[in-house]
């Protein structure tokens, strides 16, 4: 119940924050642009270069927005002293973080739905066609991405001392996960002693980057998996099976649970340290 109370408070604060509405405007613009870009691509075609471009733009923008919004929401309260006030209530920091995640998640998914709905209507008003399948696929892709990075953001917020720290940590994670990831992985894995180690190492490392595994899973679900080469044929087989989807969901949930747990645990330790 505590969790829900925190979540409700978060939703209230979220929808009254000007930051939320500036992100709403930004997202609406960007989704409209994406959908207009997607028009003319028939749903029969499955994965195309354009799908890749659209996924990439989403990958550039959404994790960054989420990391900033989530991190600032927690550290902002720390700076205003409300966090300290909340700590005096009989509420565990785990419950606090889960409440924040649920509340902020609801706000973000609402923003996402608003911008997709608006963008869809605008696209239709322009007389362009969009396939429902593509629309739902994109929304789901964005939602999965948002919820994972929100968890990471809340964790960052719990660990950071002030807004600047959380801002820098958020940008650093975004930079590593999105921008520099292939460079980093290629340059390190090329130095492995045996060529045969590259693929298993890469497979393991991919699960350390939620953006990357959500992207790969999505492309495979769209039937574009062959582009990854014969080395990953087995992946394609399990991704397209029911158990593959379950495994994906499992890893995705781990990526939500672990950062929140770490954040809660470190936060608790911080409180104890502060009490001593």
């Amino acid at each position: 119940m505590q969790i829900l109370a925190v979540a409700e408070r978060e939703i209230k604060l979220g929808f009254r924050s000007s930051l939320t509405y500036s992100f709403l405007i930004l997202l609406s613009f960007f989704t409209t642009a994406l959908l207009l870009l997607q028009t003319g691509v028939s749903s029969m075609q499955g994965y195309t270069d354009l799908t890749g471009t659209v996924l990439n733009i989403t990958l550039y923008l959404l994790p960054l927005i989420t990391l900033l919004l989530g991190g600032l929401s927690v550290t902002g309260e720390k700076e205003s002293g409300q966090w300290g006030l909340l700590s005096t209530y009989p509420i565990s920091s785990h419950a606090l973080l889960w409440g924040k995640w649920i509340g902020l998640g609801a706000v973000l998914l609402t923003i996402l739905s608003f911008s997709f709905g608006l963008a869809g209507l605008i696209t239709l008003l322009f007389g362009q066609s969009i396939s429902l399948h593509q629309l739902i696929f994109l929304w789901t892709f964005a939602a999965f991405l948002t919820l994972v990075y929100l968890s990471v953001a809340v964790c960052i917020g719990a660990l950071a001392k002030n807004r600047w720290q959380s801002l820098i940590a958020g940008i650093a994670i975004w930079f590593i996960h999105i921008l520099i990831w292939p460079t980093l992985v290629i340059s390190t894995l090329s130095h492995l002693p045996s060529y045969k180690l590259i693929q298993p190492a890469l497979e393991v490392i991919t699960f350390l980057n939620p953006a990357e595994f959500i992207r790969i899973f999505s492309i495979m679900r769209l039937g574009g998996g062959a582009a990854f080469g014969a080395d990953y044929d087995q992946w394609i087989t399990w991704v397209q099976s029911g158990s593959g989807a379950l495994l994906f969901l499992g890893i995705w949930l781990l990526w939500i649970v672990i950062p929140l747990f770490v954040g809660g645990w470190m936060g608790q330790r911080g409180e104890q340290d502060g009490a001593q």
């Binding site: 939703i11 209230k12 979220g14 929808f15 028009t39 003319g40 028939s42 749903s43 029969m44 075609q45 994965y47 195309t48 270069d49 354009l50 890749g52 471009t53 990439n56 990958l59 609801a106 609402t110 923003i111 608003f114 997709f116 709905g117 608006l118 869809g120 209507l121 239709l124 066609s129 969009i130 396939s131 429902l132 629309l135 739902i136 929304w139 999105i178 921008l179 990831w181 292939p182 460079t183 992985v185 290629i186 894995l189 090329s190 060529y195 590259i198 890469l202 991919t206 953006a211 992207r215 790969i216 492309i219 574009g224 062959a226 582009a227 990854f228 080469g229 014969a230 080395d231 990953y232």
Partner: protein, 431 residues
């Protein structure tokens, strides 16, 4: 195949067929019947197994029914056509020899129609045979043999003006192999699970139309030819080997390649040592490498669509090729004068190709957002890039038209907007 033969043999031994051939109830072999026939005569074969090989040296019409099977365990061809204007229809042939072809055609103006051929060797061989017509054949080789142990489905040697239509071939070396042959036409054939689908060597004016090749090492290998026309063919899923190709032009001159669909191959189109060829209106999609030039010059590539290939193209030691007005799925163009072509040239950065050629596992970074960032950091020499000076902005060969707007899409969008607005409203009102 062998299992199939042994079952048939078991059946043969269980039925009393000692010298009896069910051809009109007469005693004597089918060959004797053929020898006794007058030129131009039609021989109707009754259902049954005929265990012999035949030589036809006069114009005859040999007509079987669904259950007429010729079984040949000997070393000679099951059917040898030495005459002209022979017509063979509705037969099943089981040919065990690994050396001689199941059917050897030496004459001209013959017709082969609706034959099923199970062979351990060539299905059909034309040796200096002209103006023959082959339609609705089904040729199947030995599935378990390696490519080197198998032979070609149909093999043409110095044979001109022949037509091969609606033929299905699988488990052979090359589906249809032609050497030093002119003016042959291949239409509506399918080759699968073989080494090469269609293999042309030193041919002239061959027409390949509406054929398919899939799950082979390579689809179409066109080598040393002049005046080949390949149109409306579908070459897909040819990726059994790291060097698998959809369409290969080697030492080819004046070929016209148009309206083909080349999908899911290792390399879509490779043009090597070839010149003055024209490639247009082809769809090259989802291959590892879309279009590759090696020492190619003076080729004209226009109005094709290259979509979602892992690497769209590459050029090595190639010059004077005109590559323009193609559609590249990943090109972000800018049309300043409204002529439908982009004023920004399209060039393929071969960086990803180099990386993944050396370390194939890194192909997992296909279309990764960070890869684009990395490509911009590393400079690749200009001469290794494939460049389209004036790429098209819209796909001229879009496979299906825009999806119709369903009211459902409108409904979903409106619902999304409405529900989220309500949520925001409720959220603001929380006390």
């Amino acid at each position: 195949m062998i299992a199939c033969v042994s079952v048939l043999l078991a059946l043969l031994y269980s039925v009393d067929v000692t010298g009896q051939t069910p051809s009109g109830g007469e005693t004597g072999s089918l060959q004797e019947l053929i020898d006794a026939a007058q030129p131009g005569e039609t021989i109707q074969l009754k259902a049954g197994e005929y265990r012999e090989n035949l030589v036809i040296d006069k114009p005859l019409h040999l007509m079987g029914t669904d259950n007429v099977t010729l079984v040949n365990k000997g070393d000679r061809p099951t059917l040898t056509l030495e005459a002209n204007q022979v017509k063979i229809e509705n037969l099943t042939i089981i040919h065990e020899s690994r050396d001689s072809p199941a059917i050897l055609v030496l004459g001209d103006h013959n017709t082969l129609h609706n034959l099923k051929i199970y062979t351990n060797s060539f299905g059909l061989r034309l040796d200096e045979a002209q103006h023959n017509t082959m339609t609705h054949l089904a040729i199947e080789g030995d599935k378990r043999a390696s490519f080197t142990e198998r032979k070609h489905g149909i093999d043409l040697w110095r044979s001109h003006h022949n037509e091969i239509d609606a033929t299905q071939i699988k488990y052979v070396t090359d589906g249809i192999y032609m050497e030093k042959s002119k003016n042959n036409r291949l239409r509506g054939n399918t080759v699968a699970y073989s080494r090469y689908g269609y293999h042309l060597m030193f041919t002239e004016n061959t027409l390949l139309e509406a054929n398919e090749a899939h799950h082979n090492v390579s689809g179409m290998m066109i080598m040393g030819t002049v005046g080949t026309v390949a149109k409306h063919n579908k070459l897909y899923n040819n990726h059994l080997n790291v060097r698998s190709l959809g369409l290969y032009l080697f030492d080819v001159k004046q070929a016209h390649i148009s309206h083909n669909h080349i999908l899911n191959n290792r390399v879509g189109i490779l043009i090597e040592d070839s010149q003055q060829n024209e490639l247009t209106q082809n769809v090259v999609r989802s291959n590892y490498l879309g279009l590759q030039f090696i020492k190619a010059r003076d080729n004209h590539i226009y109005q094709n669509a290259f979509v979602a290939n892992v690497v769209q193209g590459q050029a090595e030691e190639s010059h004077h090729n005109i590559v323009e007005h193609n559609y590249w799925g990943d090109h972000v163009g800018l049309d300043l004068n409204g002529d439908g072509t982009s004023n920004l040239p399209y060039s393929v950065d071969p960086f990803f190709l180099k990386i993944t050629d050396q370390y194939p596992p890194f192909q997992l970074f296909f279309h990764s957002p960070g890869l684009i960032f990395l490509e911009n950091l590393i400079h690749i020499p200009f001469d290794q890039q494939l460049i389209d000076q004036a790429p098209l902005l819209a796909n001229p060969l879009i496979e299906s038209d825009k999806t119709a707007n369903t009211p459902l899409t409108l409904l979903v969008c409106s619902a999304l907007l409405l529900i989220s607005t309500l949520l925001i409203y409720q959220g603001v009102r929380i006390k």
